[in-house]
């Protein structure tokens, strides 16, 4: 695992190459009109996200359902067009590309999906699914393509017998490996994994994570690991960004986030994700449910659930500010948060 951790700004200065750069990315979805007299509602799915991921780095993107993490992944992959803001992959601005250019760019960034069964066409054999990727991009002769597919499968630990199988004949763990092999066929530089293990059983999860770890090192991939499971992120990522209702609330390098989290939401997430022990006795609990992203609360978006919320939090939206080397937090009360919330030994 690459352990070199460099702050965002210093990364650019020291000549480190940023592989993925997001600048103030916004994605709204307009809902269908329900009334003549009101403008149609919009879901504020991603609301002003800026991030840099250096080449070879692994960013963990953590958030609960509705936080916008999957939407963000799709914006990066140009599967969704951002409402505003720019996405740069390997120096190329991919935000407003033509169809053809987009297809070429997609070779640099690939994705692994959450539900491996849903991500494969049930009517195509695994071999057909994979070979067609190469055919579509005009790679190699027929024989070469066959070889590359079988090579890719062996890289993820599957033999050639899988080529003639249908997805329905494979287990979730096997298919997820096929999904990874398929994503690697085009030699991408960036791999986005959208909850790659959350549909899998505990005993299969580790195998997929090991595999991702290995290929990342072997192929010097830049990765974005999306998950709601902090343990997974802790294992793979070297930087972690926490999302809540479309915004990034905290970014830090891994160790800093897991030992010195300063946003009340991050602290609550960490408390909830305690690996074992008395989980229901965790001291820090985010009250209630995440609010709807259609009408996000005014002020700080977390204020409705935050144990520390003040009037200021309810009125003024805090900015994402740098609080330490490579550590940014979006909270008015970040300085006191740890002290107030983590007095207990059960807290992280």
């Amino acid at each position: 695992m690459s352990t070199q951790v460099v702050g965002q700004r210093t990364a650019a200065e020291s000549g480190h190459h940023d592989m993925v750069v997001l600048d103030n990315v916004v994605k709204y979805f307009t809902l269908s009109r329900t009334s003549l007299f009101h403008a149609p509602d919009a879901v504020h799915s991603v609301d002003g996200v800026s991030l840099r991921i250096e080449a070879g780095g692994v960013l963990g993107l953590v958030g609960e359902s509705g936080s916008g993490k999957s939407t963000l992944a799709r914006v990066i992959l140009t599967l969704l067009r951002s409402t505003s803001g720019t996405v740069t992959i390997d120096g190329v601005d991919v935000t407003n590309l033509s169809q053809g250019a987009m297809r070429r760019v997609r070779r640099t960034a690939q994705m692994v999906f959450q539900d491996p069964h849903a991500a494969m066409d049930p009517r195509m054999t695994i071999g057909e699914s994979m070979t067609s990727v190469l055919t579509q991009h005009g790679v190699g002769t027929r024989a070469e393509r066959r070889d590359r597919v079988s090579l890719a499968l062996s890289e993820v630990g599957l033999d050639d017998s899988y080529i003639d199988r249908y997805p329905g004949e494979c287990s979730g763990g096997q298919l997820q490996r096929v999904g990874i092999a398929r994503a690697l066929l085009l030699d991408p530089k960036v791999l986005i994994c959208d909850e790659p293990t959350s549909a899998l059983d505990a005993s299969v999860q580790a195998r997929v994570l090991n595999l991702l770890d290995r290929i990342k090192d072997e192929r010097e991939l830049t990765m974005i690991m999306i998950s709601h499971d902090l343990r997974v992120v802790r294992h793979v990522a070297d930087r972690v960004a926490v999302m809540y209702l479309g915004q990034i609330v905290e970014v830090a390098d891994r160790e800093k986030l897991f030992t010195g989290a300063s946003h009340p939401y991050t602290i609550a997430l960490l408390a909830a994700g305690l690996e074992s022990g008395r989980r229901h006795e965790a001291t820090v609990v985010a009250a209630g449910e995440p609010p709807s992203p259609i009408h996000p609360p005014a002020g700080c978006r977390f204020n409705t659930r935050c144990p520390l919320a003040t009037d200021r939090c309810r009125e003024e939206m805090p900015e994402l500010r740098e609080v330490g080397a490579d550590h940014e937090v979006r909270c008015h009360r970040w300085e006191e948060a740890r002290g107030l919330l983590c007095a207990d030994e059960t807290a992280p």
Binding site: M1, A202, S203, D213, A272, R279
Partner: protein, 330 residues
Amino acid sequence: MPDQLEIDNLTVSFGAEGAPPVLDGVSLGVAKGEVLAIVGESGSGKSMTAMSVMKLLPRGARMKAGGIRFDGVDILGADERTMNRIRGDRVSMLFQQPKRMLDPTATVGRQVAEPLRRYAGLSRHKAADRVIELLSDVGIAEPERRAKAYAHQLSGGIAQRVMIAMALAGEPELLIADEPTTALDVTVEVQVLRLIATKRAELGMSVLFISHDLGVVSSLADRIAVMYAGRIVEVGTTDQILRQPQHPYTRSLIKCATLARELDGSLFVIPGDVSSARSITKGCRFMPRCPVVEEAHLHDSCDAEEPPLSGCANGQVSRCWATIETRRSA
């Protein structure tokens, strides 16, 4: 004192006669006031166990057992009327996907009121008041508004709270919770687990808690039963299971759940896969994936005969030849 719920040698199978059963000779007991957790991966048969107790197995299931008894009442032989009475009054159930467990065309209030009117005999008006009480009791803000809502208007967390309100309305003696937090966000999961723990203490009920997640279970359970491929492989107190697991599968499962690292920095992995385990009729079902079978030089006995569930003095039982061997030599 006999256990409040006793399951004796329960076998459930589907499809053709002679197909490998999904549950194979499961025996369990839940003492009064106790939380027993059943842990296992998908397909291990843990949900089938729950549904057998409720006698709500899916179509085509064939159930055989030495007996299932709840508080002395024979469930196995009970007729539908008795079962309805038990389900309505004394045993309640929570499910994995709370939103899908609510009738999409009926309001929350109407559904919560139903058992009240039926089993507590409340009038329409009294029941409506009680619904509001119950909803606010499980921590639902604005219960009046929620009572008028439909399932699709609720978040998963709220829906599960509604299910809990409904399940606890009749103050049941046993709560069966089938992965009640699996579909929920982690911050909400904590809230729901807390709620269940509080309510259990309040009502003094027993709980049969089913989960694939050792982390969730360890926070709540008094005892844990581990299932693998339709079989119980280990039962013990939560401390015993987490601190001195005896069955190699339990040990592997704990390592997987905590994402334990091997010496080379990679994560611990159980070799092989579970898909064929059920069709193993001779010998230990976990043997093809077992990490100790080689080092313990037990290959022959593991291959030849399935180990029995055998225990030591402290009540912990497991199904493994290696453990039996060590115990014998000790």
